[in-house]
């Protein structure tokens, strides 16, 4: 097993899939000559040439729709949104075309396309550049939404996403790109729709995905020091959601905290909070707690910015509160 960064894992996934299938192409802002604003597409232009890896103007609505049309016609585009904040410019294309083409055409028009890029807050980027937008994508039937937390999962899931015949929203995070992890030399896939228990425990279930997972694992260590064994369930895929994995854990621990970077109202986090409350009703010894981003736009000031996000402290507190300690 080699230890590589999330950035490299994602790059490998794209490179391998582009070698495997010549209908896979990659475009977006700065992905080619600049090797990606966050260098995730490093070297892919050199490897595959400008026919398969090219830069776009700053026209999110246009090139998002262009990707969808190309996918309908038989290609398998990987479209990079420099960050998900800018996907808001292309929301109509995602909601009204990518997610609905198959249904509106009675099953004729599949669109195998991956939209990927960094999502959620980074550092010092203020309100418009720090949004965790998973909830508004996960809301929509017709899409798959994937958000990995380790290089291993990221590589295996991105490969599966590129091979998937459905539109996949693949959410990364700027802060995760330099995270390291072990990844096998041999090819492997991680299936979409399967959660992963990142830490086993019997006292409380901590549900998370994407960037917060690492912080949640730290929180679990903190709790362990106090003799509390937390089970950490990393969803890996938000839609379709692996409900069984969630319920199996909660029915064992009888307590649950959901951690989600996005705003709380009508979020992935509160949705899971309801699902668990409903489907583990007879098992829960305490209400399901949600540790989310604060319900405010993201401030620039770093102290406030950190205070606006889930933290080890907040998770530990929430875990203790559902344990009534």
């Amino acid at each position: 097993m080699a230890t590589i960064t999330m950035r490299e894992a994602l790059r490998q996934a794209m490179e391998e899939e582009m070698r495997r299938d010549e209908d896979v192409l990659l475009f977006g802002e700065e992905v080619a000559q600049y090797n990606g604003a966050y260098k995730v597409t490093q070297g892919l232009l050199d490897t595959f040439g400008e026919k398969r890896v090219f830069d776009t103007p700053i026209s999110e609505e246009g090139f998002t729709g262009m990707g969808i049309g190309a996918a309908m016609a038989g290609l398998r585009p990987i479209v990079e949104w420099m960050t998900f904040n800018f996907s808001l410019m292309a929301m109509d294309q995602v909601y009204n075309n990518a997610a609905k083409n198959l249904y509106m055409s009675g099953g004729q028009m599949k669109n195998p396309i991956v939209f990927r890029g960094p999502n959620g807050p980074a550092e010092y980027l203020a309100s418009q550049h720090s949004q965790a937008l998973q909830s508004i994508f996960a809301h929509v039937p017709g899409l798959k939404v994937v958000a990995a937390s380790t290089p291993y999962d990221a590589k295996g899931l991105l490969k599966s996403s590129i091979r998937d015949d459905n539109p996949v929203i693949f959410m990364e995070a700027e802060m995760m790109y330099s995270w390291k992890g072990e990844v096998p030399e041999d090819e492997y896939l991680v299936p979409i729709g399967k959660a992963d228990v990142k830490r086993a425990g019997s006292d409380v279930t901590l549900i998370c995905y994407s960037k917060p997972t690492r912080m949640v694992l730290q929180a679990a260590e903190e709790l362990a020091k106090e003799g509390i064994e937390a089970e950490v369930v990393d969803l890996r895929t938000i839609r379709p959601l692996d409900e069984q994995a969630i319920y199996d854990s909660v029915r064992k621990t009888n307590r649950c905290v959901v951690v989600d970077e996005s705003w709380p109202f009508a979020s992935v986090g509160s949705h899971i909070g309801w699902l668990v409350s409903r489907n583990c009703f007879d098992y829960l010894d305490a209400p399901v707690e949600l540790v989310s981003g604060e319900d405010v736009p993201m401030p620039y000031n770093h102290t406030l910015e950190l205070a606006a996000q889930p933290s080890v402290d907040k998770v530990v507190k929430a875990a203790k509160s559902v344990l009534y300690v």
Partner: protein, 328 residues
């Protein structure tokens, strides 16, 4: 040297083909209107009557084996011209299982993957980037097809038009952007919301050649588009065409169209696409009264059959509600 009359240039066979196209659209839409009146069809139903020369003329110039059509929601004419089965189109309007989209799409969402009809889009301007992407596929696969991207005068002020035109030009995509200027976006005369009134000049902003075309005359449309197609196939470059046309009916079945004068409507009915072509062909002794009657009868039968097919086609199963959300 005097330019040869188009009716002669293309000859009886091609002209009959064109006539069949515009007449089929006309009769089909008339039947759709009837069915709507009988509440067999619901919701938005945007008829193409008056505009037949545009889709009829342009799409007849295509080779649907390699070319593609992407349209807006006023798409029945495009679907038929692209060669879609009238039965499936009518059944779709009826929302029946036998519809081209299994009754799940309806009037605004005519699709036929095999026939290269890629919708049918209900969002004004939403189909323009999609059509651009179909052009990208053609370029990527090094095919020699062309995409006709149809949209209305109302759609031209959407950002999607601006972004798509620039994308198509910088990547040299084989897409012909066709603005069907029927003078109104719903109740809005385009002159009230458009800063320029000759849209063809808007193409200059993208270094794309733009032409303004009489969209009431099937032969003119067919001829212009045929020339443009040659050019696009050769150079793989986008083009822009503004087709001046007119819709006889309201925007949708529910629109009384009080915003325009009888005279204006009459002015266009006097250039009716079906009648024009019929007259041109009769004048060139390519079409007798009897031949026209025969063709019309044939087409009416096709439309009757489509209605009957739609009537008899079953309702979708309730299980269909949950199908086609994702590819398994």
């Amino acid at each position: 040297m005097a330019k040869m009359k188009l009716v002669e240039k293309y000859g009886k066979k091609k002209n009959m083909e064109l006539l069949r196209q515009v007449l089929l659209i006309r009769r089909f839409e008339e039947r759709a209107a009837q069915a709507y009146g009988l509440r067999k069809i619901g919701g938005f139903c945007h008829l193409y009557i008056g505009e037949e020369a545009v889709a009829g003329g342009a799409i007849t110039a295509l080779d649907m084996a390699r070319d593609y059509v992407v349209a807006a929601y006023r798409d029945h004419g495009h679907a038929l011209a692209a060669g879609m089965d009238p039965n499936g189109v009518m059944a779709e309007l009826y929302g029946k299982a036998g519809g081209c989209s299994k009754g799940k799409g309806g009037s605004m969402h005519m699709f036929d993957r095999e026939k290269h009809m890629f919708g049918g889009n209900g969002i004004v301007g939403g189909q323009i980037p999609v059509a651009t992407g179909v052009g990208l596929k053609i370029k990527y696969k090094e095919e020699d097809g062309v995409v006709l991207a149809f949209f209305g005068d109302g759609a031209i002020h959407q950002g999607s038009f601006h972004e798509s035109m620039n994308l198509a030009k910088i990547y040299n995509l084989p897409v012909v952007y066709i603005c069907e200027n029927n003078h109104y976006g719903m109740g809005t005369d385009f002159r009230r919301v458009s800063s320029v009134h000759d849209f063809s000049q808007m193409a200059d902003a993208y270094g794309i050649e733009g032409r303004q075309i009489n969209g009431m005359d099937p032969l003119v449309v067919y001829d212009e588009v045929s020339q443009v197609l040659e050019r696009v196939r050769k150079d793989s470059t986008p083009m822009f065409l503004e087709m001046l046309t007119y819709r006889y009916k309201g925007h949708s079945m529910s629109d009384p169209a009080k915003y325009r004068t009888k005279d204006e409507l009459q002015e266009y009915k006097d250039q009716d696409p079906v009648t024009i072509l019929q007259k041109q062909m009769t004048g060139a002794e390519q079409l007798s009264e009897k031949e026209f009657e025969k063709l019309d009868k044939e087409i009416r039968d096709i439309c009757d059959a489509a209605v009957q097919f739609a009537e008899e086609s079953p309702e979708p199963e309730l299980s269909a509600l949950y199908e086609d959300v994702l590819v398994e």
